[in-house]
């Protein structure tokens, strides 16, 4: 049964705009690959590094769930709802663009780059009132286990998303065999290795590699010590 895709790190799209270095897991802006148009409702997974004092000035979005996960540095967010904030490592930000918002995302520092993941997920309900939220997730709460950071109903203190989607982070100091049960039978699982190494069904993924799986209820992950993972449990249509 064909229920798996593997996206090795070096097959991602690459953008180099000088101030912005970005790897795209899926087609985005100038990178177009018809085989990489998303994974279910997951449309964008960008791995961005932005030079000091640079960034994305004011721009619009609508009808998209936009999640930013800083990896290092400080990212300043401003939006047309009046939110002004700086997010950093261990914070997660979510914005439901809904009927439409403007926002900017700038590197707050003048001498350090900011690195962050940006994730776009198609919404469950369209044209909702725009909303913004952010939260700090203590790293001890994801040590050698997965921590829910985004979910439809705010499970375990996570951020709420307008979609039947769950995002989880894990940081492993020990070698662990972790069994993950998908939340819904209609969902697939996209496993993105932030660092380290994970073996799934005899397939080994290393830093920034990814695997997408669907038509499964459960998966066993053999996670090596020193690994960090992002799991995206998302509807496949």
């Amino acid at each position: 049964m064909n229920n798996k895709v593997i996206h090795k790190a070096n097959t991602r799209g690459k953008s180099d705009h000088g101030w912005l270095q970005s790897y795209h897991s899926f087609s985005f802006a100038g990178y177009y690959n018809p085989e990489r148009m998303g994974f279910g409702v997951l449309r964008v997974l960008n791995d961005d590094r932005v030079a000091p004092a640079m960034g994305f000035s004011k721009h619009p979005h609508d009808n998209m769930e936009i999640i930013s996960i800083p990896l290092h540095g400080d990212l300043e967010h401003r939006d047309s709802m009046g939110n002004v904030s700086v997010i950093k490592q261990h914070d997660v930000q979510i914005m439901s663009a809904g009927t439409g918002v403007f926002h900017s995302e700038m590197n707050r520092n003048k001498d350090l780059e900011v690195a962050f993941l940006q994730i776009w997920i198609y919404p469950k309900m369209y044209n909702i009132q725009p909303r913004y939220d952010q939260r700090t997730f203590h790293p001890n709460d994801r040590l050698n286990k997965m921590q829910v950071i985004v979910s439809p109903y705010g499970e375990s203190g996570s951020l709420i998303i307008n979609q039947d989607a769950w995002l989880l982070l894990g940081c492993f100091s020990e070698e662990v065999i972790y069994s993950y049960n998908l939340r819904r039978k209609e969902n697939g699982l996209y496993i993105f290795v932030l660092s380290g190494s994970v073996t799934i069904d005899s397939e080994t993924l290393n830093t920034r590699d990814a695997m997408g799986l669907w038509d499964i209820e459960n998966i066993s992950l053999h996670i090596k010590s020193g690994s960090e993972l992002l799991l995206l449990d998302v509807p496949m249509q």
Partner: protein, 42 residues
């Protein structure tokens, strides 16, 4: 739609957003106008 005329089109395009003008010169935007991103065609 919103005040789109003030948006830097290059930044928007790098960020996967295309801004276009319609017949009444009203600026509109689309996410990810793939594969024909007008900025990258220039």
């Amino acid at each position: 739609m919103y005040g789109l005329a003030e948006v830097d089109r290059t930044i928007a395009s790098i960020h996967g957003i295309s801004l276009t003008n319609n017949q009444s010169d009203e600026v509109r935007f689309n996410h990810l106008p793939l594969p024909n991103n007008p900025i990258y065609e220039q």
